[in-house]
Amino acid sequence: MKVLILGGNGMLGPWAVTAMKDRHDILLTDINDPYPEYQGEFLKLSVDDIDGVVDAAQGMDVIVNLSVLRPDRRLAFDVNTMGNYAMMVAAREHRIKRVINTGPHFQLVGQQYEDWDFDLNPDMPPAPGTRLYAHTKALGSEICRVFSERHGIQVLTLMYYNMKHTWNLGGPEASPTYHEDMVPFSTAWPDCGTAVRAAVEVPDERLSSNFEAFFVFPDLPHRKFNNEKTRRVLGWVPRYHVEALWNKQFRLPPSGLHEAF
């Protein structure tokens, strides 16, 4: 398939590209230059440039939106809200059947859910609250929903929370801490990328509606969030389970048995 990636030079982009580059034709776009290692097609493009996104989407089968901007209020709205509008206009204009949108879990699970409840799942009504990142992404998602409903465009929204390096389970902003309280929605970077691939490739008949959301994280024992739908519908199988973060015996088994007989 021909896949247009918006905002592909952020943190998730390289992992999504790695997961898809041997299976699909990718046009990577971003307002910033690509990583030096990237070898494919690239177009410099701001996601809030409606005409530019429409032009870039010509001839594409799928649009993947990985763009995100958090701290600045104007840019957050431009990227997280207006960017989704541009993407959906492009999908409508070119009759693109499927869009993969991404965002943080709290564009749906605001504090009123997270501080209170368990078994939180991606089919709950969104309650993002007013936190800038969550709020702007939720508005973008609502734009996607309206377009999806009106034009029959499939929108698959992948939600993430806490991403971890595989080699030490540290995150982008913090060093790893083992055997302490963790974010019970943590995902290894490579698995974040394969989830994008799974969403691009999932057969139509597996989707129960044109607007579906998924929580992307491996099996964790907390039961705070629920990833069942992601496994069942997308067929996504995470390779990493970040077990050192939640199993105190993971590194030093009390039996002393370190090797198989």
Binding site: R73, M82, M88, V146
Partner: protein, 223 residues
């Protein structure tokens, strides 16, 4: 009551301003490109002078539908980012209530025979950018109410204003709209997020207004 009226250069705001001015102290504002005369120019940018605009204000009347004109990008930006900035500052300034003036056109895709109330989900258009923008402003207001940062009354008015055409089964009179805003300002019966549908009592009335009659009893005779 000290009221801030947004999009004050728009026709809807002018209708409201001329009627509310007798009973309330109004502060009018609009974008710099439109503000003239007594209308205070403010683009509702983050870091701008929104706080000055809100000083001493008890409640905001926000024109959430057809208050602005412009490109699709300009309208979405105003109805999302500018609303966020306004409500954030309002919350910090201690403003207690916002009346968002929205539209029942968000339900126009439901057939006329259906008994549509506030419990029905709106069906905003993706191609009528004014309707999409109105819907997005409702979303912004709702999240501020959800976080208990401000009380939001979402008045969805019928359309058009002051029509005498019997085919306009969702029409509304200016008197009723003004009465609804006044009653919504005064009511103590409202929860933090409150949708209220308001249209005139006409033959083949399209939308039910029982919620307005219950929560805004001064209007009951007109509904």
């Amino acid at each position: 009551m000290n009221l801030l009226l947004t999009s004050a250069a728009s026709s809807v705001a002018q209708l409201l301003a001329s009627a509310l001015g007798d009973t309330h102290k109004l502060r009018l504002t609009d974008l710099r490109a439109k503000a003239t005369g007594e209308i205070i120019a403010n683009d509702l940018d983050h870091g701008g002078d929104i706080d000055d605009l809100l000083e001493g204000i008890d409640a905001i009347i926000n024109i959430g539908y057809q208050g602005q004109v412009g490109s699709e990008k300009a309208l979405i930006d105003y109805h999302t980012r500018a609303m966020y900035n306004l409500l954030w500052s309002a919350s910090e300034s201690g403003v207690k209530r916002v009346i968002n003036v929205s539209t029942l056109r968000l339900f126009e895709n439901y057939e006329e025979n259906l008994a549509v109330t506030e419990k029905w989900r709106s069906t905003p258009s993706s191609q009528d950018i004014e309707l999409l923008a109105a819907h997005l402003t409702e979303c912004v207001c709702k999240e501020f109410a959800r976080d208990r940062m401000i009380q939001a009354v979402n008045l969805r008015f019928g359309w058009p204003f002051d029509s005498s055409d019997k085919a306009d089964t969702a029409r509304i009179s200016t008197d009723l709209a003004v009465g609804a805003v006044n009653a919504a300002l005064e009511s103590q019966e409202l929860i933090h997020w409150q949708d209220i549908h308001v249209q005139s009592k006409v033959e083949n009335q399209r939308y039910l207004t029982n919620t307005a009659a219950r929560l805004l009893p001064t209007l009951a005779e007109k509904l």
